[in-house]
Each structure stands twice: as C-alpha cells, then as structure tokens.
C-alpha cells in the first residue's frame, strides 16, 4: 500500500507548487493579486496559453517536439485581423484552418518522411515568422469592435472550459489519446500492436496546430490589433507550462490534461504575482528560470523514487 501513497504525492506535486505560490504571493502582494479584478485578469491571461498547451499535450505525449506555436499564432493572428474586417466567423475559421494545415504539414514531414520533429518545427518557426511580416507589411489593422467580445471574461472562459472538457475527453477517454501516450512509451510496441502509428503522430501535430489556431483568435482579441510581435516566445512559455505542470519531456502515460491546466496557471501566477510584488521585469524572468529548474528537479527526484518503490 506504500506504493499507492508515493503515487499520490506525484499526482499532487503541481497542486502543492500552486498552493505554495498562492501563499507566497498573497503575502508579497499584500492580497492585491487576489482581488476579483486581478484574478479575472489572471485567468484571462492564461486562456491562450492553456488552449495552445492543451494542443501541445498531444505532441508532448508522443515524445515529439513542436516549437512552431509562437510563429504560427503570429501568422494566424495576422491573417485573422485582415479577414475580420470582412467577416468575423470567417476570420475565426481561417485561423483554425491555418493552424490545422500547419500542424498537419509538420506531422506528415515528421511521420512519413521521418525527419526529426525539432528540425522540421525549427524550419517552420523561421518560415512562419517570416510570413507574418509578409502578410502584415507596414499595415496595421484595427479590429472591428464586435471582435473584442472574444476578450470578454465570460465568453473566453466559457470557450476555455468547453475546450478543456473536449480535450480531456479526447486525451483520456479515446483510443487516439491513449495511442498517443503509448507511442511516447514505446513506439515500436504500438506499431507491432497493429496501430497506425503514423496517423496518430500526424493527428497529434494536427491537434497542436489546431489548438494554436484557436489560441491565436484569443491572443488577437487581447492585443486588440495586428502586430508582428504577436506570439514571440509563445512556444517557450507553453513548454514551460507543460514541464512545470509535470508532463514528462519524453512523453508517455504520465502526460495529463490537469497538469497542463495547473502548469499554465503556475506560469501565469508567477508572471503576474512577481509583477504585482513590484519585482522588476528582468528579475521576474530570472526567478521564473530558477523556479522552472527547481520544480523539474524536485519532480525528477520524486518520480524516480516512486518508480523504484513500484519496482520498475
């Protein structure tokens, strides 16, 4: 029975970290962070990170790598900004479509042509970012007012909750989700069990692209207009959210939806909390770096002990 207890600790780590952080910031911001208004902002700022993170979860589960999200979100936002002046629903569909196409492309090159995903996604990151400049040129696009409804707290949170439910369903309650996690454990074993591994891998990258497309819609609404710096560094924040939440770098069955959700909150709490604690911008980033290293260090240690206790 000792085994079960160790496992519970592993499950609890992200929540413990979140709780510790809440306590620290409650003190350091003298409660400012936890007023209704700041909490609202906090949640709103987390939305796009969480949405894209939920997509990236599939890629992380198969043990792959996708660093296109920043550039892709930038491109989706740029195109959407232009299209929104014609039709808002069309613009949203376009953003999702671009994400889907980009993710599928990455998946096909990786799975069918067997090029390492880091190589493909780096190339795409460079190419997509360049296309953002191409699309925007020197124009700046003002979004139509109705579009900004997407930045409304109730609307965006509702969409987020729906997406979390849907992704939880796909990731934890379908063969596709389980297959992705199994691929991260041992790709060959999955292949020999008669699963179309390539289709699953392409599907995982497509999910990442699709969710990035959706995230871009909300990023654009927050920013309020087109800009060619939208999404800079986004992929790295997503990765941090996943790792700090406890999604293993190598993928597998320890990947969980709740870890992404909690991880994204931790990242955003860190950023906002430090800001409200009057820590200078550069210092917040340094603290974030050390927290990331420390948390992952603790997690690696505890997982090792848990596995040794379980006789693995």
């Amino acid at each position: 029975m000792t085994k079960k207890r160790v496992f519970n600790i592993e499950v609890l780590i992200p929540f413990i970290i979140l709780a510790v952080m809440v306590v620290i910031f409650a003190v350091s911001t003298q409660g400012k962070l936890f007023t209704a208004a700041s909490l609202r902002t906090l949640v709103k700022q987390t939305i796009s990170l969480m949405i894209a993170g939920l997509g990236m979860l599939f890629v992380a589960a198969i043990g792959g790598c996708d660093i296109t999200q920043g550039s892709l979100a930038g491109l989706c936002a740029a195109v959407t900004a232009f299209a929104a002046t014609y039709s808002i629903p069309l613009a949203i569909c376009l953003s999702i479509l671009i994400g889907l196409v980009s993710g599928t492309f990455l998946g096909v090159v990786n799975a069918k042509f067997r090029v390492p995903s880091f190589m493909v996604s780096l190339a795409m990151m460079i190419g997509l970012r360049a296309m953002v400049s191409q699309v925007l040129g020197n124009n700046s696009v003002i979004l139509p007012i109705p579009y900004l409804i997407l930045d409304d707290f109730k609307v965006s949170v509702t969409v987020l909750l729906i997406l979390i439910v849907v992704i939880t369903y796909i990731f934890h309650y379908t063969a596709f989700g389980a297959g992705c996690q199994a691929i991260g454990e041992n790709e060959k074993a999955v292949k020999f069990a008669g699963v179309h591994v390539d289709k699953f891998k392409i599907g995982a990258y497509a999910m990442s692209g699709l969710m990035t497309g959706i995230a871009a819609v909300f990023i654009l609404a927050r920013v309020g207009g087109s800009s060619n710096v939208i999404g800079l560094g986004f992929e790295m924040r997503i990765m941090m959210a996943l790792y700090i939440g406890g999604v293993p770098v190598a993928g597998g069955f320890a990947s969980k939806v709740y870890k992404v959700v909690v991880g994204a909150f931790i990242i955003q709490l860190l950023e906002s909390g430090l800001l409200l604690s009057n820590v200078a911008g550069a210092m917040t980033q340094m603290i974030r770096g050390f927290v990331l290293l420390f948390v992952v260090f603790i997690m690696v240690r505890i997982n090792k002990r848990a596995r040794a206790a379980a006789g693995a």
Binding site: T174, A175, A189, G252, F253, A310, G311, A312
Partner: protein
C-alpha cells in the same frame, strides 16, 4: 597434460527469477579451442559476457593463469589478456575503423596533444598484418563499411589486447565463406601459439569441425564437456536438446489433427531485400503450424511480413481464409481476429515503464472504443484484470509498471493481452524465449487449449524440440525459401528436419 588457462568453479548468475548460469564448472587448457553449444536461453552468452568482464557474476570463482580472475570491466579483462567480439555491440559508425579499434585508448597515440591519426592507423594496420585478417579501409567512417568489414574491425579491436583467450560470439554467421576461412586460420595460429579460444556458433557442423572440445549447456547448466574427435553433429544435437519430456509438457499424440477449413492463406510472399522468396502456406482451423530454420533462413521476417510490418517491401498475397479479405496492415488482420507476437518482447512488444493495465489495453484499443469514440476506463480495467487473472500474472496489481517483472511474467502479459480476445489465429515468434521452465510449460498448455478451441497457431521457433513437441505440420525454411513441409508422424524427427535446414 597441457597447462590450465582458465578454471571456472561453481559460477552462478541470476536475472530476477531466471537462473541464467547455474553452478557452471569449466576448465580450459592453453591452446584449446572450445565451442559452447546450447539452445537459445541456455546461458552461453551470459557465460561469455561474464568471462569478458561485461557483467559481474553472483558467486563462484574464476582462476586465470593460476591467479584469481574477477574482471570489473572489459578493460580489466583485456589487461589480463582476455578479449571478446560481442555479437550485438557493433561499431560507432561516425568514427573511422582505427578510432573504433582504439576507442577509449586513443591517448597512447598522443603527439603534442593531438591523437596522431597516422600512428593510430599504422598500429591498426599492424594488427591486421600480424594476424592476417583481410584488410579494410581504416581511415573512413565505419558507416561506409559493409557488415563484414565492420566485424573485422571489431575482431581487430579484440586482437589488439594480444589475447591469450579470445571469445567469438556468433562471429561467423555474418561472414562470407572466404572470411570464415580466415577465422579458421586464426584459430589454427592460436593453437600453435598456445592461446585459447571460446567460440559460440549456431552452425552445428562448424562447431564440431573446428573445435577441440565442446561444452554443452542447457537451461543455464553444463550438461557435459566432450572431445570433438569422433563426435558427430547428431551426437551434439542429442545432447543439446535431450531434455526429458516432463509430464504433459508437449503433446503426446503422434498424428496431425486439424480441420479442413483454412484460416490464413499466404501466397508467394516475398520481401524485396531477398529475406523471403515466394513463400506459400495455409494455416488451418485448430492447427499448430511450426516454422523452423537456421538463424538467417528468414523464419522471423516471415512472421512480421505476414503480420504486415517489414523493413523492405512485401509482395505476394496474404488472405484471411474465412472472409477472403486481403490483409495488408496489422489492423486488417486484427479485424479478422488475427494477432502476432514479436520475438523481441521488450523492444517490439511491451511498454516497460507503463502499467500492466495500459499494456493489456494496447491490442484491444479498437474493440473497447464505443459510441462517439468513447473508451471507458472501467472497461479497460476489467479487460486488464481479466487477462491478469486468466494468465496468473504475479505482480502487486494491474497498476504496477512492468519494469522489473520476470521474463516469464512479462511474457504472460504479452501473450495474455492477445489471447484474452476472441481470436481466429495467432502468429507466435519464439513465444518461450527467455522464460523459465514453469512458464514454458504453462504457455504450452495454453496453446494446446487454444488449438482445441479451433484457433490456428503459426509457431515460429528456434527450438526444434518445441516445434516437434507442439506442431501438426512443420515448414522448414532455408535461405528465405520453403525447403520442406513435414507432417506429424514418423517423419517428425530432429534429424529429418535438420537435414533440410542445414
């Protein structure tokens, strides 16, 4: 009486519950060429890897040249003039031949801080000259060398230790006829100079031919050590497989028994790389169809090619006998109630770090998918629990990671997760490899039960006794071609099968 080089007394080595080496005693004289013979899993490779310092032993003792010998690593073994060419270790393809030969010892060629490629190349060449091994280009990355050339590089690496004892594990099977001769000449030279060799070879004729003496192992124990003069291949086989049939280990009936209806129909199956050539076979209802052959005969690629996974392009036709559907992808076969078990359980079968439950779930992903693609975790648990109970897996629960479970338990999971389904036929590639006798007997009883239920079983095996003990018919493959088909009955003897195999 010649001098003693190596004396091993009561050596033991276990991996979990498997006793890989059990009270091994062995004496090797100077100038003696010793072959080790035994089936897969008899403990040959474990023994040689202990002698060469690649893994420690549990207890017992070794004495080399009169002094205690307990190598901590291969370097220490080299220092005591023991070297080995390992079957699967291989070379680093990015590095040149001479770098591979002196890997880890390049400092001896340092001139002004740099490793002198020329000096190293010369020294490497000198090894080839000294031992008369066929020259290979040593200055280019090994990626550009053929398999045979790479083996020569590995041989040179071992010979650099100027060994008194050289161990060759399955070196000849990847070599051409001409290069084999070189190895034989090397062996003669070792003899002359009073050095010794331990050789493992699957080629039984070669084993008898080249050795002075043969040590036969079975289930981790030494059966006997015999002089090779006057010893025949048939004698050797007798000793290797002469296991007593205990209880209802194998079938006792002497006639084939299966129904007329065909479950799986394979026509003219070939692989583009030539590993298989125009193989046709039919698997009947309730039949166990054995497939035997030497290690390069193509028996293992046959299994995976029928299943629909192969490195090179497959041609020919694989059809489901009942529905008549063509089977191209494993998924097609699963839909028709087929399944396959790879020989490489840990790499191509199980997810070692995942829970037993998730491993059990893998083959049944489609079946457990309901409306709206929904898979109920409770249903997965039930399935896993059923397979876990049916196959008597010994672990704490279905939530334990597979990790360090014994080979037998892993194989029970591997097989059980397929057999828990409603199958029509199953392709098994060496299902009893690396499991202990108890689990082996258990697996045989399960297979017999499935046969009675009408399941067709394609049993690919390295062990002749297994095929003879279980099969209704045996197909013998040679060089990728179908060499013979033998029915259960009087012709069902090892000598008959081996005659075709070799």
């Amino acid at each position: 009486m010649a001098e003693e080089l190596l004396k091993i007394t009561n050596l033991n080595k276990s991996f979990g519950m498997t006793h890989a080496n059990n009270n091994i005693c062995l004496t090797l004289e100077k100038g003696e060429i010793r072959c080790l013979a035994g089936e897969n899993g008899s403990g040959k490779s474990t023994l040689t890897s202990i002698i060469s310092g690649m893994q420690p032993f549990d207890d017992g003792s070794m004495v080399l040249n009169g002094k205690e010998y307990k190598p901590a690593d291969p370097l220490e073994a080299n220092a005591r003039k023991v070297a080995m060419v390992v079957q699967e270790l291989g070379v680093i393809t990015a590095l040149t031949g001479s770098m591979n030969i002196y890997l880890g010892q390049t400092d001896q060629f340092r001139r002004n801080g740099m490793v002198s490629t020329r000096a190293m190349g010369k020294a490497a060449e000198a090894i080839f000259d000294k031992w008369h091994i066929p020259k290979v280009p040593l200055g280019i990355p090994c990626a550009h060398l053929t398999m045979e050339q790479r083996k020569m590089v590995e041989l040179a690496r071992a010979l650099d230790a100027d060994p008194d004892l050289l161990i060759l594990d399955e070196i000849t099977q990847s070599l051409s006829h001409d290069t084999r001769k070189v190895i034989y000449e090397l062996k003669d030279r070792f003899k002359q100079e009073g050095r010794s060799m331990i050789i493992i070879s699957h080629d039984l004729e070669e084993t008898v031919e080249i050795s002075d003496s043969i040590t036969i192992l079975r289930d981790g124990e030494v059966v006997e050590t015999v002089r090779s003069d006057g010893f025949t291949v048939d004698d050797l086989k007798q000793k290797m497989v002469g296991r007593k049939m205990e209880g209802d280990y194998y079938r006792t009936d002497t006639a084939p028994s299966y129904e007329e209806s065909v479950l799986l129909d394979v026509k003219d199956l070939s692989l583009a790389d030539g590993q298989l050539k125009n193989i046709s076979l039919q698997l009947h209802k309730g039949e166990i169809l054995g497939v035997c052959g030497l290690s390069d005969a193509g028996i293992h690629p046959l299994g995976s090619a029928i299943w629909g996974i192969s490195d090179s392009k497959r041609s020919g036709l694989v059809k489901d006998g009942v529905t008549g559907k063509e089977l191209k992808h494993p998924k097609d076969m699963i839909a028709c109630g087929g399944s396959y078990l790879s020989k490489n359980r840990d790499e191509e079968g199980l997810m070692m770090e995942a829970e037993i439950r998730n491993n059990m779930y893998l083959p049944s992903m489609q079946e457990l998918t309901g409306k709206m693609k929904f898979t109920s975790p409770a249903a997965v648990d039930r399935l896993a629990q059923k397979a876990y109970d049916d196959f008597d897996v010994k672990a704490t629960s279905i939530h334990q990671p597979i990790g360090r479970l014994s080979g037998g338990n892993k194989q029970k999971i591997n097989l059980g997760r397929w057999l828990v389904k409603d199958l029509n036929y199953i392709i098994l590639d060496c299902p009893t490899r690396g499991v202990d006798v108890g689990v082996k007997a258990y697996i045989y009883s399960v297979l017999r039960k499935k046969k009675e239920e009408g399941v067709g079983i394609l049993l690919i095996t390295d062990e002749l006794t297994e095929a003879i003990g279980m099969a209704d018919r045996i197909l013998v493959l040679k060089n990728g071609e179908l060499a013979a088909e033998i029915e259960r009955g009087e012709a069902f003897t090892e000598s008959n099968i081996i005659e075709v195999m070799v």
